[in-house]
Symmetry: C2
Subunit: 222 residues, 2 copies
């Protein structure tokens, strides 16, 4: 399967790109507003993978071209770029494509990090509003520490929660997620349940910041 990581030069995009290219046979495509940056990062990922004996091609393109080439399109961009990124790639999305959203809204104050959703109620809801109607949305990968994901030496042993209203799209993303070693994908229900999942991310940062020895935290439901 071809997976496009829009904003794939950023931290969560890097982690997902490396993990899928390393652990699976899916073809990973890096998208960016700046195609030069996408190509440079894609080469970096190739070098990293090659140093681990994994010689695979990772291509970099504009977000539009990356979305056009892939059947699963991951919006690995900050929440304030979600709407304009979708607008930019809307014409590149075909029937059968799936849009995946891992972004969450976070603000920081003196007390720590807090969930700060957009007016739509959650970033996932914002994506649903902005996306073409016939493209199914799957929320996933919200609660993964980017640094740990991008470090192929780091064991994961954590869960990711999926929300979607389209069961087939959810199943496709579940299989993609479980293709990553040490990642367990659990069903979080429909898109309307996204806010509580997104809110877990600032909590993970607070817990890591307040407890010695806990860094790059993930979560395990047990």
């Amino acid at each position: 399967m071809r997976i496009a990581l829009l904003g794939g030069t950023g931290d969560i995009g890097e982690g997902l790109a490396l993990r899928w290219a390393y652990h699976t046979d899916h073809e990973v495509i890096i998208g960016s507003r700046d195609p030069e940056k996408a190509r440079a990062k894609a080469e970096e990922y190739e070098t990293e993978l090659s140093s681990r004996g994994r010689d695979v091609k990772v291509n970099g393109f504009t977000n539009e071209m990356a979305a056009d080439r892939a059947s699963v399109v991951v919006l690995a961009v900050p929440p304030y770029h979600v709407a304009d990124t979708i607008e930019a790639v809307a014409d590149s999305l075909d029937e059968g494509d799936i849009l995946v959203t891992p972004a969450t809204g976070i603000k920081r104050d003196d007390d720590g990090f807090h969930y700060h959703p957009p007016k739509a109620g959650s970033v996932t809801a914002l994506v649903t509003e902005a996306a073409p109607e016939d493209i199914p949305i799957v929320g996933a990968f919200h609660n993964l520490a980017a640094g740990r994901l991008a470090d192929l030496d780091a064991e994961l042993g954590v869960d990711t929660l999926l929300v979607a209203d389209d069961p087939d799209a959810k199943e496709t993303v579940r299989l993609l997620a479980e293709g990553i070693d040490g990642l367990r994908a659990l069903d979080g229900g429909g898109l309307a349940n996204a806010a509580e999942i997104e809110a877990l991310t600032p909590l993970l940062i607070n817990v890591a910041n307040n407890n010695e020895g806990l860094n790059d935290l993930g979560v395990r439901f047990q």
Copy 2:
């Protein structure tokens, strides 16, 4: 230490009462608006503990009398009874006492369970508004499945997050929490970080409801 569980006849109260009485030497006191109910439940807990070779006294009182006798007072009541319970026991709280709040606001709709905080922003914030100024508040035990907690055969192996602005009170409750076998207490920061912790509870219920084989879920940060 003497711990009063106000609303200690309810499900989370039962779990905490049994665990503390079983795993520690703290004296557990059950409070209820109805002292007869408190006494009847306290006797039930004694019988359960005695059947496991643990012969300890558990007393039941009105919430006021339970709070008066204890130095740690746990508000194990539903969120809509938090304010009136605090009002009822305010005169029974002395300097040095600690008020612990495990409650969270949850609503259910067709999609599942959602975080539904009171106007104060979180149940913890509501407690802070309602409590006497000189009594430190600690948020804890929000994310524990009551049924699993009350089943002394069930291993926990999960975390609870503490929030407080008073470090001594937080440390006291941390030690109480870690006295329970299989429970790890982590620092969630100040009281202002409570909402994200409370929001984790409806998420745990959604995940349990949507995934076969996962019941009475807790969470482990790792």
